[in-house]
Symmetry: C2
Subunit: 485 residues, 2 copies
Amino acid sequence: MEKERFFKGLRAVFNPSSVAVVGASEKPAKLGFHVMKSLTRGGYEGAIIPINPSSTEVMGIKAYPSLTEYPGTPDMAIIVVPAAHVASVLAECGKKSVKGVVLITAGFKEIDDPSGALLQKEVALLADSLSIPVIGPNTFGIVNLHARLNASFTPEFSLVRAGGVTLVSQSGGISHLLGFLAMKQGIGMAKIIGLGNRLNVDFADLLPFLAEDEETGAIALYIEGLDNPRPLLEEAKKLLGRKPVIAYKSGAGTRGDAASRSHTGSLAGRGEIYDGALHQACIVTVKSPQALLDAARVLASCPGLKMNTVAILTGQAGPGMAASDVCETEGMKIAVFSTQTQEKINALLPPLAMRTNPVDMGPAWYDARAIEGIVRAALDDEAVGGALILMMFASANRDVLPRIKDFFLEWKQKKPVITCFSAPEGIWDEDIRILEEAGAIVNFPTPERAASAMSVLGRYKTLTLMPFWGTTKDENHSHPSQPLG
Amino acid sequence: MEKERFFKGLRAVFNPSSVAVVGASEKPAKLGFHVMKSLTRGGYEGAIIPINPSSTEVMGIKAYPSLTEYPGTPDMAIIVVPAAHVASVLAECGKKSVKGVVLITAGFKEIDDPSGALLQKEVALLADSLSIPVIGPNTFGIVNLHARLNASFTPEFSLVRAGGVTLVSQSGGISHLLGFLAMKQGIGMAKIIGLGNRLNVDFADLLPFLAEDEETGAIALYIEGLDNPRPLLEEAKKLLGRKPVIAYKSGAGTRGDAASRSHTGSLAGRGEIYDGALHQACIVTVKSPQALLDAARVLASCPGLKMNTVAILTGQAGPGMAASDVCETEGMKIAVFSTQTQEKINALLPPLAMRTNPVDMGPAWYDARAIEGIVRAALDDEAVGGALILMMFASANRDVLPRIKDFFLEWKQKKPVITCFSAPEGIWDEDIRILEEAGAIVNFPTPERAASAMSVLGRYKTLTLMPFWGTTKDENHSHPSQPLG
């Protein structure tokens, strides 16, 4: 499919002026009911066109028996009819000049019966001949939080805050998991995209599109297995320096492999091989769903590290040690302060404290000015790439964060500041929210997650400094040219 | 100190009939103010006796100028006066037959000045001669949630739910972190104990006491460094089969080491040496603060595993793969179902699904009876030690959990059932709460934490099967007889 037409189709999928729901229903046992709920309650402001042969109205909206009988041209169509009807609906989409499709229906390549794969092939050929990008089949759908478009069978996705993380996922379960975590953790997302069986839209096809998407700050990939990893690796490499790409690849174990085979019909492949190939493509890899969200969040929110070194400033020694352990394990260097910085810090802390990096600010915890002075001295130091600041609330130091808030707001975006400010509910929540929404800090509930997120920034920095694999003629040397299996 | 007297003292510390606060204050800048707030607002029902030379009343409670001038005998005393006065207050405690002390005051062994260590030695000799166990100095205090006793400077600790996890910690910061996490995650705790500088109450002294404590289901240790690890290792070993002990040892890295030296005045030691020694003492080790809480939680709540094998039953393939990866990495075996079990499951799922362990219950997700049947078949299988059940909510399957709730309540406590049931706020919260409070499941927000917690049960099971190190004459061979440094 020609690139401009394909991109136009994807733009229609994510920012449609009108959406037809083929298979819209008022019966809660039907997915077409849940899709209608998502669309109508999510705040989408374009036209919604329910298509149902036996209803004149769905959820109070005029319905049409078929796409053909609708007088206008829907920009995008969501298809939720049984698999056997998909080809004819897609043909109608072609006749109606529908630009893009989200195909939720299951029963294609993922089923044991070979008829499923055959059907998928047939539908893919049709979609390609019509030049229609089709997300799916066998997907929950897609969500564009900035457009308030919830084209999925899960209305609750609309509750996620709009932000910079775009998730492209091979698993509906992982998408739901991460969507709900984002919701509960207040993490902003741009798009949630369920690839399903990847009819003609795969990871590789979305990367250049998302590279140009202004709402996407970082791209998180959940990968189970790839038939042909090369296009993804090629496209990811092109994004280096433009937009961070992070991947969590499951199925490292043998059982996971088997699971993936039956789930998506593709090989999961051994974890290490994937890791190597993904790194060569400048993709940051992580080891769990929560880590994928955390990594994408900091890469979407924080300014880039100028160097791979961190100042650990902690209100209490223990959390600083926990963070320090994670940084060392994950390859993030503890900065060595300049003499000048060290002198400034020494002047603000009694000799009893640990004053070299990590700095135990504990003895100054009643004194917000001293803490501000320490943080400022560390961040001013040219040897410091970013700061991890850990502060546990105790009744006696509850005033500290409100008092140093303005400093962080002023410091905003010069260097990454990742924090673990922890307090009982209601105590620092509002201050943390203000600081996060201003982009001044990214806060995590534990020192280990904060440190791990900082280490992700470090690993991304390292990738940007890597010799650029595969730009020479000798491409096959650095790229797997076979499917990773 | 003689054991019976020591235990009596600890019982007074954790379940006092009356508590004197030496250094009670109405000035918010004083720790004595926060301690009084903790005691008075935490729901403690015994007598509170503020001691302050210049007040006749603190927070509406009659105060006395000194312990001596108080006519009765306080069961326990919390001391928050400056370091220089501690010895004389402790002497008064002796005269008054106070049974146990929580010494919050800092300025002892942890300071650079050698006078601190000297003062601590002097006070320790005094405490020993008076046969008074002293928690601290340089601690936030202790909390006994079952007695509603908050003997700390952080009133918010009283908000933690009473439950089975007891934390013994060398860091106030980690205690606050974990207390707040427990609060937000609804995890029940028995006691939160800040060891501080360990005047005459160390990890090893608390283990036999906590072994007999009916409210403590599992003992979580946060360790930075030990001058003499042997007593802890000896005591931990005695608890095997009686009560699980879990440790998170920070300072594995070199920086952490340096931090620990200045923080608690003891050597942190290399991570691997500690890990080996702790395993030999039948202590389960974990690698982060959150993992310590998670591990203690499942060991306090779940029935023991009969064998180190797990059934992974998942509503969506992706989360099952993520869980499966963690189990394999952390040494938990994926169970092989019996033919009978497999046939039962096959009958409940279409052939398109992955039906061997891990089982993708996705195709049955509208059908609560089928899901119940699969879970029952797996749990009935003798080859299955415990079950990991992962289920992400989507609008179409919101009825599943409420419908299978009764099954879990009935199954309760026969085998461990650890879940990741994930839904937007308000959707399954109440069902999950009921199941957790009944002890039927332990729920985690991510599949990786659920799987890691199950693996902890597996590792504990493995420890119970280990040849019992050090019961032979050749003890020095298996135990480090030198401080781990």
